[in-house]
Symmetry: C2
Subunit: 227 residues, 2 copies
DNA sequence: TATTGTATGATTGGATCCAATCATACAATA
DNA sequence: TATTGTATGATTGGATCCAATCATACAATA
């Protein structure tokens, strides 16, 4: 498979588990923008010391989920229309580029993995799985599309962007409708990808991201002017 | 000024100082790719405990300067032609885009700041300042060009890329020649930028990055096939 | 001789504790 | 009454210490 080998079993440190926990709370909206994250509160909640909490917060800062100020602690980063544009424009540059490179290197095994990933998302929507699982499968599909590009550095950037993008997607008023549209677009993307139609795949991916961004930004603009 | 306000005085934590120290050692080539960074060794060297060293290493991992494996510590990430392509292609996507957005928002004050930044680089080259300072001024110019885009998220990505790009630039066989070329290109970039010629500035910036990337990649390819 | 098991020191991950900083309320002063 | 100074609890940053894991050398076994 033309993808990056990842370790088959990787031990989870307490730091990694805490990072996942806090990230899930932020992405899920339990901790909204501006929310102060107290190290001691998280530590007590999870039954660990403050050290892994602090180390987790440093990682989340790198992902743009929190902002840390010296001696003042971590605050969940604020969402805004401007930030969404910043974020989705970066995705609009990187993802179509990576998908073009990916198609150049893709193997049949990769394509099988992508199809499997697409079907898993489809099945999860049909079952009405919870938003967290649906998000995970959505990003897994995007990752599977881009992974054969063999660009681990750019992939790491894109992965970080997904975490923040997820926060915006979860804000959508009509998530079911958005997901149905996304799934249909995933099917079209996969068809073009399977044919190795580079230009068409890139075009569809650009539209896929731009449409979602457009929805989110206009919704945010409405709420921002209302406020 | 249409740029992001940064705090006038920000306290340095020990963690931040350690991160700067290790980053400088990696970028300067003292710690080459594959070098094991021992927490205790750095701690002893700087007269601090291992806690800030570990936290610094986490930040450097996010920047792609080190790779951390659970219970095995941090290793300086390896440089390669493939990685250089990955890195410089990402810059080639993001920077020209950001410079276009920047010109759209730029103020006279910004332009004055950019000119000052360009002249500082020029003067440092004329004085024969050490590579570390020359690098800092080079990136400061690039940052000044892009900053008026008001895209803090994309800017953070680009800043992280600069750290790794610097490792490659320091490898160049003829740094003086490369810097003279870069300076000349900076002048042309600045002229187009000042005229607010968006297309020409983007074109020049693309060429500026692509030329440097081309040099570095072909040099790496030569040494990789030689080995 | 090649492979597997075991012991030991080195190293990392995490808990606990102390010092420094921050936020807040309240007192003092003009 | 508005501003400045001071005291106190809350919180973070960092040092020290302990437990878990890893790497290595060496012994045991087929």
């Amino acid at each position: 498979m033309a993808t990056i080998d990842k370790p088959l079993l990787q031990r989870q440190t307490v730091t990694a588990m805490v990072a996942e926990y806090i990230a899930a709370r932020i992405i899920g909206g339990d901790y909204p923008g501006g929310h102060q994250i107290r190290q001691e509160a998280i530590a007590a909640e999870l039954g660990v010391s403050r050290i892994p909490v602090r180390e987790a917060l440093l990682q989340l800062e790198a992902d743009g989920l929190v902002v840390i100020r010296t001696h003042r602690g971590a605050v969940v980063s604020e969402l805004s229309a401007d930030d969404a544009i910043d974020l989705f424009d970066a995705r609009l540059l990187l993802e179509p580029f990576l998908v073009e490179k990916a198609i150049g290197h893709v193997t049949d095994q990769d394509i099988a993995a992508i199809e499997k990933s697409m079907r898993a998302y489809e099945a999860a929507i049909a079952r009405g799985d919870d938003p967290k699982d649906l998000s995970r499968l959505n990003w897994a599909f995007h990752t599977a599309l881009l992974e054969p590009s063999m660009r681990p550095r750019s992939m790491a950037v894109v992965q970080a962007l997904y975490n923040s993008a997820d926060r915006y997607l979860r804000l959508q008023i009509e998530p079911a409708k958005a997901r149905a549209k996304a799934l249909q677009e995933h099917r079209e993307l996969f068809e073009a990808y399977r044919r190795k139609d580079i230009a068409e795949t890139a075009r569809l991916l650009r539209k896929h991201i731009a449409d979602a961004a457009g929805e989110i930004v206009s919704q945010l603009r409405r709420s921002e002017t209302a406020a």
